[in-house]
């Protein structure tokens, strides 16, 4: 049996979530088999796409058959495929977890179960559309789909804190979109094209207008990716949201915005990644890394700790920009993408497990979490594995990613950035270690009739964490045989 064509798979990946969401919403029912079937189908499509890309490399698809500057293109790149794949895995895990988490809860939770899946699918569709987009304006619309779905998901519980966080997130997101659109306007005014490849071919790196445009695009995306000075909205939004939502947001939505930064700076804007630009982005990253790490150390509530760790981890990811200033960019891009993939899997696992632990303990305070006992043991196992991946212990995916970046840093003699990376890893080690230490060495007894933890609440997190750990080996192969990954990211 031959696999469906790449074009067909892309169409499935971008339209199926939207169609399924519309159908679920319109029918007003939530047949769980149907939603899970859609999620499974999407996962298979992503896997098949990964296989195709592995065989064929980059492919470009014209929408509507219109050629470049007039029409819109989809570009299936290796890094984009990794993101699509990770999205599918996290999306599936989240759907299963969500189905279990919102099940059998009376009152407003019943409403949450009803709207969770359509919103989740919308976010999924928006993410998939982002990862294949190769057009500045199309990205804007896809970003809006993603942002609006995420905002609605944050507000899902409709509690005051959640609403506040959602409002702040919405404003930050819209601010980001607006600045991004300004950048689009400036670049369009300069070159009259929106297509990535056309833009890359025409880009005049010395031109002031183009520089202003690039800055605007970047600032817009920085706000959406919650990079250091613009991170203020993230901890609230991720910390206050329902656990499956936090997993999606932290693992994928923020990562998508960051992925777009990578995509732009290693694609159409590659010529502009000079010493100044790269260093500036790196400094922002270093700030995020330290600030987020220190605040994560100070948190007393589990989900807030995990949320601040996101700020810190994306600071780490920002360090790819200074490393890519000179020399070979492919390993840097590969490292950055793998870092995102690792973070997506591990952080999603961490949030899902955190949700389970909070439910099992009846409290969010780190000191009052139940210990390594009963079924909560499995959740703790997921936390430990995910922590290992986040810290970057071998043989996790996090290790492969960091190893790639470290190698580059060493080969370039970038000791300064190397130091920051090590500091970041130590910080990660410190706050995750503190979490494990507090909880496992001094566990609280937990509520007397322990809440039922169904497999849906345990298995997804565990599987994601295992995947983050195990795929490191594969990723090394994937990377070190070189060509596969490197076989031409367009524009680089």
């Amino acid at each position: 049996m031959s696999l469906p064509s790449t074009a067909m798979l892309v169409v499935i990946l971008v339209t199926l979530p939207l169609a399924a969401a519309t159908l679920l919403f319109a029918s007003g029912r939530q047949p769980r088999t149907l939603t899970l079937a859609a999620a499974l189908l999407l996962t298979f499509a992503a896997l098949a796409l990964g296989f195709n890309v592995h065989l064929e490399g980059v492919s470009v698809h014209r929408i509507g058959g219109w050629a470049a500057p007039l029409g819109i293109h989809w570009q299936v790149t290796p890094s984009g495929t990794v993101m699509l794949l990770v999205t599918a895995l996290v999306g599936l895990a989240g759907a299963v977890y969500g189905a279990g988490y919102f099940l059998h809860r009376p009152g407003p939770e019943g409403r949450m179960a009803r709207v969770f899946m359509p919103l989740w699918l919308f976010a999924w569709g928006g993410l998939n559309a982002l990862f294949v987009a190769a057009d500045l304006f199309n990205l804007y619309v896809a970003l809006e789909v993603m942002t609006l779905a995420s905002v609605a998901l944050v507000a899902l519980s409709a509690r005051r804190m959640a609403l506040q966080a959602a409002m702040r997130y919405l404003l930050a997101g819209l601010f980001g979109s607006m600045i991004y659109l300004l950048g689009v306007a400036l670049l369009y005014g300069q070159y009259g094209v929106l297509d990535f490849d056309a833009l890359a071919a025409m880009l005049d790196v010395e031109d002031a207008g183009s520089r202003a445009g690039a800055v605007a695009l970047t600032v817009g995306l920085l706000a959406k990716a919650a990079i250091f000075p613009l991170h203020f909205w993230l901890p609230g939004a991720h910390g206050r949201a329902e656990p499956p939502v936090s997993a999606l947001l932290s693992g994928l939505v923020v990562a998508a915005a960051f992925y777009l930064l990578l995509r732009l700076w290693f694609g159409p804007l590659a010529g502009m990644l000079t010493f100044g630009a790269g260093t500036l982005l790196g400094v922002l990253g270093a700030g995020a890394l330290l600030w987020g790490g220190v605040l994560a150390l100070l948190q007393r509530r589990l989900k807030m700790l995990v949320a601040y760790s996101t700020v810190s981890q994306f600071g780490f990811a920002m360090l790819v920009f200074p490393l890519a200033i000179s020399g070979n960019r492919e390993p840097v891009l590969a490292g950055g993408t793998l870092l995102l993939a690792n973070h997506a899997l591990a952080k999603a696992a961490l949030f899902l497990a955190a949700g389970t632990l909070v439910r099992a303990s009846g409290s969010e305070r780190i000191g009052q979490l139940v210990g390594f006992s009963g079924r909560a043991r499995w959740a703790w196992l997921a936390v430990i594995l995910a922590s290992a991946a986040l810290i970057g212990l071998p043989p996790t995916l996090g290790f492969s990613a960091k190893w790639l970046l470290l190698q580059t840093a060493v080969s370039q003699g970038a000791w300064w950035w190397l130091g920051i990376m090590l500091a970041g890893t130590l910080l990660t080690f410190a706050y995750l270690g503190r979490l494990l230490e507090l909880a496992l060495l001094d566990p609280a007894p937990g509520p007397s009739p322990p809440p039922v933890l169904t497999p849906a609440l345990l298995v997804p997190a565990l599987l994601l964490a295992l995947l983050a750990c195990a795929s490191g080996v594969w990723a090394f192969d994937f990377e070190l045989d070189g060509e596969t990954f490197v076989r031409l990211e367009p524009g680089s």
């Binding site: 339209t15 169609a19 007039l70 609006l148 779905a149 507000a155």
Partner: protein, 329 residues
């Protein structure tokens, strides 16, 4: 009297600065009042004043689009800006607690605004300096060249529903998503039973309603060959429905629930069916066969227009109209 608009005679500033002083004065005054109103809309001490200023800002923006030779946008701005945005803001204001409505800001100029102001001015200057140098080549010629195969005569509609139809699909998705997002926040939030209005109001709505319906169709028809199309048409339909709601009508019980939700989803669904159907039939996503392009676009346009009308009404309502007993009547 003048069949086609002559591009040179009265055309403001297209090309080599042939603008008449009256035109320049007009533009200057227009933009000046827009800026003043924008400032008022953000900073007016009284919240109501801010909202009214913002609505007027929308009115003038529509005129500005006309001056920029963008009648399509002017239509959309007129129907969305003057109609629904204003209604939405005024209705929101009515739902805020009275003491927050007036929310006076302290008069003292905070020191912290000064750096922001400086930065803003600097940013403005940079932006202006940059934008003035832009050559702006654009895709005008590419669009013109592709028009014969587009299936419609209006370039903007061709871009929206053919060349960049994927954007438009996602955008309809954003709108549906907004409705779902609002519904996910809980039920219809109309606070109290609104009193029946003066008899003049239902009379007005009864009179205008058929006109709203008629002009919705008119704009849909126009969209094929001139400024118009699904957005302004949907906005007009929504305005008609919202007016009826304001005049005391209720969402009919047999429309609540599934029929309403299907109507909301219909636009996106039609888009998806056509796009994927073409993938299946032609082999390329969203590739209209030229001989069927106009009819397919018309189908999408009608479905999207009606659906947009319902979606915008739902956005105005701000919540799912399920609470029949508590809500109105």
């Amino acid at each position: 009297m003048r069949a086609p608009p002559s591009p040179t005679a009265s055309d403001p500033g297209n090309g080599d600065g042939l603008m008449h002083p009256v035109e320049i004065t007009f533009d200057a005054l227009l933009l000046f009042s827009m800026v003043v109103l924008a400032w008022q809309g953000v900073h007016a001490r009284n919240m109501f004043r801010a909202v009214v200023s913002f609505i007027m800002f929308g009115l003038l923006t529509a005129v500005a689009w006309v001056r920029l030779e963008a009648p399509d946008i002017a239509l959309a701005e007129a129907s969305l800006g003057a109609g629904l945005t204003g209604a939405l803001l005024l209705a929101t204001l009515g739902r805020l607690a009275p003491e927050r409505r007036g929310a006076r800001r302290p008069k003292v100029v905070k020191l912290s605004t000064l750096p922001w102001l400086t930065m803003g001015l600097a940013g403005t200057t940079v932006l202006l300096a940059v934008t003035l140098t832009l050559p702006a080549p654009g895709l005008g010629e590419a669009v013109l060249a592709a028009m014969p195969a587009a299936g419609v005569d209006s370039p903007v509609t061709a871009v929206l529903l053919n060349f960049r139809a994927w954007d438009t699909l996602l955008e309809i998705g954003v709108m549906l998503l907004a409705v779902i997002a609002l519904w996910s926040l809980g039920q219809d939030v109309l606070a109290s039973k609104p009193r029946l209005p003066a008899p003049a109001l239902p009379a007005l709505v009864r009179l205008l309603f058929p006109l709203f319906v008629l002009s919705t169709f008119y704009l849909l028809w126009r969209g094929g060959h001139g400024p118009g199309g699904a957005f302004p048409a949907g906005a007009l339909l929504a305005a008609g429905l919202v007016l009826a709601l304001l005049a005391g009508a209720q969402v009919p019980e047999r429309m609540r629930g599934a029929p309403l939700r299907w109507a909301l989803g219909a636009g996106l669904f039609a888009f998806l069916v056509v796009a994927v159907g073409l993938m299946w039939a032609v082999g390329t996503f969203f590739a209209y066969p030229p001989q069927h392009a106009s009819i397919l676009i018309a189908i999408i346009e009608i479905a999207a227009g009606l659906s947009i009308g319902v979606m915008l009404t739902a956005l105005f309502l701000g919540g799912e109209p399920t609470d029949i007993k508590g809500g109105g009547k």
